[in-house]
């Protein structure tokens, strides 16, 4: 059975997602988080709605907003990182709260051409993390979403 948000019910971000990532910014629908994993420039978009698990749990209007946010963020991330490919994934097997991975991939990265597998992150240095967060925030502001 689809889980639908009760209007007014508060969005609460999964503790599991918060533990592995840091807030970049909020878009109209989604919270954008940066995974603390220097192996790949790795963002997550988390629709700020309660009780969402599958893409189809969102309303039709929210689905459209999410697609616009995914594509705008993907294009920005690819330009910023000069990546070879953007991978977009809504998995959620281990962490049910709906979240969409947007990952910049390089032909030279350690898991190319396979999909990234989580579980063995390599944390950023504090300096690199802060400078990447600044670049991402500037890139998101320019999107004008």
């Amino acid at each position: 059975m689809a889980m639908r948000s009760t209007e007014g019910e508060a969005f609460v971000m999964s503790a599991r997602l918060m533990a592995i990532s840091e807030l970049v910014a909020d878009l109209p629908l989604s919270r954008v988080m940066l995974a603390n994993d220097a192996r790949f420039p790795w963002l997550m978009l988390i629709p700020r709605r309660a009780n969402m698990e599958e893409l189809f749990d969102l309303s039709a209007a929210e689905q459209g907003m999410l697609m616009r946010e995914i594509t705008a963020v993907s294009r920005m991330l690819k330009e910023l990182t000069k990546a070879d490919k953007i991978n977009v994934e809504a998995i959620g097997n281990a962490t049910p709260q709906l979240h969409v991975h947007v990952v910049a991939r390089y032909k030279t990265d350690s898991q190319w051409p396979m999909g990234v597998q989580w579980g063995d992150p390599q944390p950023y240095t504090e300096e690199k993390r802060q400078s990447f967060l600044s670049e991402l925030r500037a890139g998101l502001r320019k999107l004008g979403l």
Copy 2:
């Protein structure tokens, strides 16, 4: 640089995708293929537009259509297969032509909770493949897309 379809340029499906899957049906935007891999009920949606690689290569209208097709197909597949979770993935590292995996996952499947990795398919028996194709085609017709 984004690759955009030249109007009138013919959609040609990647030989690599054709080799591992079979036509289920065409939706308004996407060709729906069934991966010949009995480990997971695994569909691929391939927008019938030439020269697409990233989701953001599609026009805004096509992005909206694709999201509607992804969510409708995901809901149908989850109901049909009684899956625990639907995984939606646009990867395309090995096969650049834009294609979206829609995979029915079970807590009991061989790769749960990780994302599925291709490369070791277990083909369906001919009988199972034909009966699943029939069920999928009936399910897609009912979507009324």
